[in-house]
Structure formats: C-alpha cells, structure tokens
C-alpha cells in the first residue's frame, strides 16, 4: 500500500509536470490517443452499445487523465460508456464498503497482491473470461499471471506496474567524478567512493520514509539470497534472524556504515524524505548536492515535477547493480480485477490485457507495462524504454515488493514494524543482529505466527 501511496503523493505533486510532458503527445488532438490511431488494433472487442461501466482506481491528476485516454479508446471501439471513479488512498476500504453496500464498480485496479488474494478468497472477485485469459497468456509472462491469480484461477490483469530496481543519477556529478553505470554492488560502492572523492555526496537516501529503506533491503536480498528465499521471507516462512537476512543487512551496511557515502551522513539521510532525496540531486543541475538516488520509476515524476532536469539528459537511470548472481527486479503494480461480471467488464479486462491499451498510456509517459508484446518504441524516451526493458527482460525472475505482501502493520506503517526497524538500522548500521531481532519481533506480532 505504501508504495502506491508514495507514488500517489509523488504523482499528485508532479501531476502538473506530467501534464506538461504529456502535452507533447496530446496537444495535437484532445479527443484521442495518437498512438491508438497510428497502430492497428490487436484485439477484437464486442459491440457494447449503450452499456455502462464503472472503473475504480487510485489514480488522480495526470495519471487519471492518461487512463481516461485508454478508456476513451475502449468507448470508441465498443460504444460502451465508461465512468472513472477515484477511490482515494485506501482501495481496500473503498471496495469493501462498496461491495457491502451492494454497488461495487465493475472493475477495480488493485494495488496490492495481498488485497487481490483476500478479495478473491471472499468471493468478491469474478474470474477472468476465456478471451481475457487468452490475451493474458499471449502478453504476460507466467510470473505476472500468477500474481494475478488465486488458487490457479486468474483474477487480475497487471495493467500498470512500477520497476523498483533503479538507480537515478545526475549526469553532471557522474561526469565530474569520472564514473559510469555500475553493474555490480562492489563497483557501485567504488563509484560511490570516487563520487565522494570528487566532493559530492554520493548516495541520497530518503530515510525519513521507511518504505525507501524496505526497498533498499528487498533489492539486495532478492539479488543475494535469490527468489526462493525472497518468497519464503515474504511469507515469513523463514525468520528475519535467518543468516541470509544477516548477509543482506551486512551488505547494506557496507553503504549505510560509511557516513561520507550518504548525503548528509546517516543523520541527514534519516531526516530526508523521498521527494527531497530526489530534489537534492536534480535541484541544482550544475552543482548537485548529491549524485544518485535509488528508487522506482516514479522518481521520474518527481524529477519532472520538482526540478528543471530533463530525463535522459541531466537525469539518467540504470538498473540496480547485482549483489549476487543476477541483478534484482523488484516491482509493484496495479491489477485490474472484475467485481461485477458481465460482457462489458470482461471486454474491458481483455482490452487492458492487450498491447493496444498499454501502448496508449506508454506513449504519454510515466508508465511501465509488463506486457511483453508491447513494442518498446511506444515509450516516449530512452530512460523509460530502459526501465521497461529491464522489467520485461527479467522474465519470471522479478519479485513483487515484499513489504507490500506483508501485513500493513509490518510493511506499511509509519514508525512501526519494518519501517522503524530499518530506520534504526540506518541510524546504527553496525548493529545487524539488533536490527534482525527488532524485525523478527515486529514480524511475529504482525503475521501472528
């Protein structure tokens, strides 16, 4: 939940900028997507003249506008009327109250895996029909299909996802220090050292927001301990006192333990919130305060919204370096799920699973699709393509954000659970054992086992 919150806040802040960027694509015509007009439909949709559909999602501002373009195309092709309903921050609560009130929207975009499974368990979600399944099989790798399924039945279409394994950096700072994009963790640390030598703070960490720290840990853990362990830890089948956790925290300590590698030192990092961790790099282009920041693709929204930096020129991005054998790909995303079965809802789910729908938003920017058949040219700039390539290229080796799979008390609450334990670790990175004990204590309480 927290990731989408963060993304949401970020997006709300950057909404104006997204719009500004989007104008390049949509200023020419206000009534439809250029991408849709210049590409042949790949999926056949039924005629639904006169039908009315409701779609609920957390998106607001620029994201909402872009999603409406997707819905407009659907309306044009089928003749149905689609109404967009913003849910507010807490989708689960919104849907819960609507279902109990007897008037759920036809389709909802669910931002958490846990919620999807929970709703499917309660029987609130309706399985995807044969056409949507066919489209899903064609365009999505097994990993994404499984994430949208419960007990083998597909319920969700991951329409919009986030790649949370990215390092964004200031071109200027990297050029000044003479360093490039790191492929391994060791090289990453060496680069950080070189950046520090050049007189710029190397790594900006938004430690005031606990979810930034959980993402750091998850990337290192996924790359070092591998996907199986990752899944076990996510389900709390192994404890946080496991040696693999110790190794990952020790590795993270190689960065957090050297205060000259963190922007503002450890204390400074703890006081830096996520938006500031971005602006302190890209705020002053010629004389950056810090050189790089790790986070998801939505950093781009902050760069466009809060700074004058141009993505691809002043701000660049590369995949998280590998710590173990392979580079990690940690993701989050919104899945379209059907709450009210019907021809219209099934058709819309099918449409959202196609590259037609993915392409429309991709062309507007600020969006990544897990659709493997979507032409990378659909993305408006090189960094966006890079992000999408890394995500699709991960095949089934990607993993969904661990803290989003955990109970909210552990993985998603300010000042509690994993957030708080990792903040304490950032304050005192030498105390790996203490951090592990704190994590395990919080996890035991939150998972209730």
């Amino acid at each position: 939940m927290r990731i989408s919150h963060a993304a949401r806040t970020a997006c709300a802040l950057g909404a104006a900028a997204v719009l500004a960027v989007a104008t390049a694509g949509c200023a020419a015509d206000d009534e439809g997507s250029e991408w849709a007009r210049s590409h042949k439909p790949t999926v056949e949709l039924p005629k639904l003249n006169g039908q009315k559909l409701q779609v609920a999602a957390v998106w607001t501002g620029g994201e909402e506008d872009n999603f409406r373009k997707v819905l407009d195309e659907f309306e044009k092709r089928t003749g149905a009327r689609v109404e967009f309903v913003p849910t507010g921050d807490n989708v689960a609560t919104y849907v819960g109250s609507k279902v109990q009130g007897g008037s759920p929207p036809d389709i909802v975009m669910l931002p958490q895996v846990g919620v999807l499974r929970q709703f499917a368990e309660k029987g609130w979600l309706k399985p995807l029909g044969p056409r949507a399944r066919a489209e899903l099989r064609k365009n999505f790798s097994k990993g994404w299909r499984d994430l949208g399924s419960h007990d083998g039945t597909p319920y969700g279409v991951y329409y919009k996802v986030a790649n949370k394994s990215l390092i964004w950096y200031s071109t200027q700072a990297f050029r000044d220090a003479g360093v490039g994009e790191a492929k391994t963790w060791k090289q990453f640390l060496d680069d950080a050292q070189a950046l520090s030598d050049s007189g710029v703070d190397p790594v900006s960490v938004g430690g005031a927001d606990g979810w930034v720290l959980t993402d750091w840990f998850e990337n290192i853990y996924l790359s070092q301990a591998g996907p199986e362990k990752y899944d076990q830890l996510a389900a709390h089948e192994i404890t946080w006192t496991d040696p693999s956790v110790e190794r990952a925290l020790t590795t993270l300590g190689e960065l957090f333990g050297q205060r000259h590698l963190l922007a503002g030192g450890n204390g400074g990092a703890l006081r830096t919130d996520f938006p500031k961790s971005v602006t302190q790099i890209f705020g002053q282009l010629s004389d950056p305060e810090a050189a790089m920041v790790f986070e998801a693709d939505f950093v781009g929204v902050n760069i466009e919204g809060d700074t004058k930096a141009r993505i691809g020129v002043d701000a660049q991005v590369y995949p998280f370096p590998r710590v173990g054998d392979t580079a990690p790909v940690v993701t989050a995303g919104d899945a379209a799920a059907i709450l009210k079965d019907g021809k219209g809802a099934q058709a819309l789910a099918t449409f959202l699973a196609s590259q037609d729908a993915a392409g429309i938003w991709a062309a507007e920017g600020g969006y990544v699709s897990p659709n493997r058949n979507l032409d990378l040219d659909a993305y408006p700039n090189a960094p966006q393509r890079e992000i999408a390539k890394a995500l699709v290229g991960a095949g089934d080796e990607f993993r969904f954000d661990m803290s989003d799979q955990a109970p909210a008390a552990f993985g998603g609450t300010k000042g509690e659970g994993e957030w708080k334990a990792l903040q304490d670790f950032l304050k005192n990175p030498s105390d790996v054992r203490g951090a592990q004990r704190a994590l395990e204590r919080a996890a035991t309480k939150a998972y209730g086992k």
């Binding site: 050029r175 000044d176 220090a177 003479g178 360093v179 070189a194 520090s196 030598d197 050049s198 007189g199 710029v200 430690g207 005031a208 927001d209 606990g210 000259h260 030192g265 204390g267 400074g268 703890l270 006081r271 004389d287 109970p407 909210a408 008390a409 552990f410 998603g412 609450t413 300010k414 000042g415 509690e416 659970g417 957030w419 708080k420 903040q423 304490d424 304050k427 309480k445 939150a446």
Partner: protein, 460 residues
C-alpha cells in the same frame, strides 16, 4: 429547562400584557407545576437532549468499554488481554511516560508564563497590544501550529528558524573549520589518528618536500582557490610541503601527484609531531604550501581535526531525546496566551487597596507579588492549570504532525497510541478501546476536582 420554584401560586396576568417581574416568576411557577403534574410532558421536553446525549456520549463510552474486552475483530471475548497488552507493550509504556511529562510540564509552564505575562502587561502602556499578540496563536488550529513548528524545528539551518538562530549564536563564538569533511584517500600516505586528525605514515625531511593530498571537497568550495604549487625544498634545513585537493573534474588525475589544475588548500594547520609531542606548527598559504622550522626534521606531520570539523548543524530538535520537550514548546506557544487572558481577568478582580496597603506598609514588588497577588489569584490559577491538564491529557494533533516517522515512537502519547493501535497498521480496536478506557479513567479525577470546585463556587 424550567426550574420548579416554591413561590405560592400567583394571581395571574392578562395575556398580551408585558408581565411585571413578579408576574413572570409566577408564570414560570405555573409552568413548573404543570410539568410536575404531567411527568410525560417533562420527559417529552427532555427527550431530544437525552437522545442526543445518549447517542453521542453515553453510547460511545459504553461501547468503548465493551469493545475493550473484545479481541481484534470484535467477535470474541478477550478478558483482560487488551489491558495486559497495553501495560506490557514498550510503545504504550513510552506513551504513558510521555503523557506524564506532558501533564506535569505543559500546564505548569503555561500557567507560569501566563501569570508573568498577565502581571507584567498590567503595568505597561501597550499591555493590550501585547496581550493580543500572545493570545494570537490560540486562533490557529492545532494542525496548522503543528505544521508551523515542524518547519521551525527543521534541522537544516537554512530552513528551520530554531536552528538558524542557534547556529548563528554558536558560530559567533566558535570558529568554523576551513575545509569541512575533507579527507585523504584510503591509498594516500596518511592515516586517521583520532579526533578527526590525519598523520603522515612516514617522517619528513628537509630535502624532500612533503605532499599531502586530500579529497572530498565540493568543487564550488575551491572554485576561487589558486592552483597547487609543488613546494621548493626549504633553505637552512626548513621542512616544506603542499596540501592540495588531489582531484580534477572527470576524475582523470594521478593519485598523490600534484597535477595541473589541482587546487591548493589554504589555511590548513599542519603540526610536526615527534614522540607524541607537537614540535612546530604552520599554516598553508594561498598556494597550498607550508614551511616548518628545521627542528621538525624527522617528525610526522599531523593535520589536526579542527581543520575538517563538519559545520555545526545545530540541535537535533526532533531527535529521540528532544522531541517531546520540543513539542511541549509548541504547545506552550499556543496556550500561554489562554492562561494569560484568564489570569489577567482574575487579576482585574483583585482589590487594588490590598496591593496599595501592602506597598504602603513597605513591601517590595516581589513580596507583593508573592504574598498578595499569587494567593489572591490561587483559585484562578487552579482553574487554568486543571483546564490545561484535561486539555493536555488528550493531546494528539501536535505530536502526530510534528514528530517525524523515525522518532514518532519517542514522542508517542496515549491519544496518539490509541489512534495508531485502532486505525494504524495493526487495526486492533480492542487494544485501542482499552487505551481509551484508561485515558477516560485518567481524566475522571481531574474532572471531579473541577466539578467540585465549580459547585463550591456557585454555592458562594
């Protein structure tokens, strides 16, 4: 509600006629007797108030009581488990401790300040204007005040007013280091020698000028510096050397060698140390070179930590130790005005003659204040303190808004913990209700004191 009186039945007045005072009283009595003879009518009149009170106050309190004994999802009886959890959970115990600090400190400080302001403003010409100023924060909502103080306590002196003042004062008395956070590379011929100082691995000799390369300096700081010069060997056995920034843009420079365009570091103190004793000191010039007298021959060179001290960053107001006092400070800012106004009103009722009499009898101002004013104001002071105590017990907004995520637990208070337990990640309304019940029990004694005092007052 009409109050029944014991006045005998009146003779009654003509309708439409303005009743005389006596007649009005009589009419009320008549109504009173009418209600007494028909209790259902009284019940009918009382009904709306009773329904509202019941629905909005009695029912929620009752349900909270019941809920406190139910488990997390409210389906099963949990006995005293919730209370057990409340009294064993570290977070909640911290909240208890903080609440205690709040209840003792905040009302006391507010009342004391209010008293001082009230007494002083009575004497000055612009008293009303001053009172208005002190009272003004009361017009702001807690939420807005919280946001304001979040900014006031911001660590960065460029953003937070508190630290801006503090660092200005500090820097007036303490010199800042010339090159904060400069350091040698790990492969440089220097090692860290405690207290942030660095010492050369080898010893120096007059024939071979020392070179001391440092890195980690932001380019903007050396933008105006001169290029570093290689020091010439000193005459008459003097020791020479250069301290410089061993880095050029693009990173393509040989480590430990003074390349072209590498900048000199001016004003660095260099000490010659032999057997742990400093034998000579020098400062680098604008071209980065320094000269030590001949007696430094064979010594190690040490750059004391004072060269590299990080700029003073001010006080960590919202850190774990100061966060509660800092938030109490913002509360005082808001409520001192309230205390002042009430006490000033009380002060206006103090008979002047008494004060005059005391002065005539030769009492000093301090004695008058201590022996006359304060005792006479005691009832008012008690009202103010008790009111603020009730107010402080339920403090929530300021703590919730001002404390950052990393120290929210250190600043925690019961009302906040109640909210976090009930609607935060754990969503355990059982424990939340248990805290609510405890909070209610804590408020009750203060309320009882207040009500008894009010009764006494009205009987007077």
């Amino acid at each position: 509600m009409p109050t029944p009186t014991t006045t005998p039945p009146p003779t009654g007045g003509e309708p439409g006629q303005t009743p005389a005072p006596g007649q009005e009283k009589a009419a009320a009595a008549k109504r009173g007797s009418a209600l007494r003879s028909r209790p259902w009518l009284a019940a009918l009149f009382l009904l709306p108030a009773l329904v509202l009170l019941g629905a909005l106050i009695v029912y929620p309190i009752g349900y909270s009581l019941v809920r406190a004994f139910l488990d997390q999802d409210g389906s099963g009886f949990a006995g005293f488990d919730n209370f057990n959890e409340v009294f064993t959970d570290d977070t909640t115990l911290t909240a208890f401790r903080n609440n205690l600090i709040w209840v003792i400190v905040a009302p006391a400080v507010c009342t004391a300040l209010g008293l001082i302001f009230a007494v002083l403003t009575e004497r000055v010409r612009w008293g009303t204007a001053f009172k208005l100023l002190v009272f003004m924060p009361m017009a702001i909502s807690m939420l807005a005040a919280g946001i304001i103080f979040r900014l006031v306590y911001e660590q960065d002196p460029d953003r937070g007013v508190a630290n801006a003042m503090w660092t200005t004062v500090h820097d007036t008395f303490v010199d800042t280091a010339p090159w904060p956070e400069a350091r040698p590379r790990p492969d440089a011929p220097l090692r860290a020698s405690g207290d942030g100082s660095y010492t050369t691995r080898g010893t120096v000799s007059a024939a071979d000028p020392a070179s001391i390369p440092l890195v980690g300096i932001p380019p903007r700081e050396t933008a105006d510096a001169l290029p570093a010069e290689r020091a010439a060997p000193g005459g008459k056995g003097e020791i020479t050397g250069t301290v410089w920034q061993d880095f050029v843009k693009g990173g393509r420079s040989e480590h430990g060698v003074i390349d072209q365009n590498e900048k000199a570091l001016k004003g660095i103190e260099v000490e010659a140390v032999r057997d742990g004793r400093t034998v000579a000191t020098a400062k680098t010039g604008a071209d980065g070179t320094f000269t030590l007298p001949a007696k430094a021959e064979g010594a190690h060179l040490r750059l004391p930590g004072s060269n590299f001290e990080a700029p003073y960053g001010g006080v960590d107001w919202l850190g774990p130790t100061l966060v509660t006092p800092a938030i109490i400070g913002s509360y005082v800012w808001m409520w001192a005005g309230f205390a002042m106004v009430l006490i000033a009103a009380g002060l206006a009722g103090v008979p002047r003659e008494l004060l005059e009499q005391a002065r005539v009898d030769g009492a000093g101002e301090w004695t008058v204040f201590r022996r006359i004013t304060v005792p006479l104001l005691a009832p008012v002071l008690a009202v103010v303190t008790v009111t603020l105590m009730i107010n402080v017990l339920k403090i929530f907004d300021l703590v919730y808004i001002i404390s950052p995520g990393a120290t929210q637990k250190d600043a925690n208070v019961l009302a906040l913990q109640l909210y976090l337990e009930s609607f935060g990640g754990g969503a355990n309304q059982g424990v939340g209700s248990a805290i609510a019940v405890i909070l209610l029990l804590l408020v009750v004694p203060v309320m009882v004191v207040n009500i008894r005092r009010l009764r006494r007052e009205s009987r007077r």
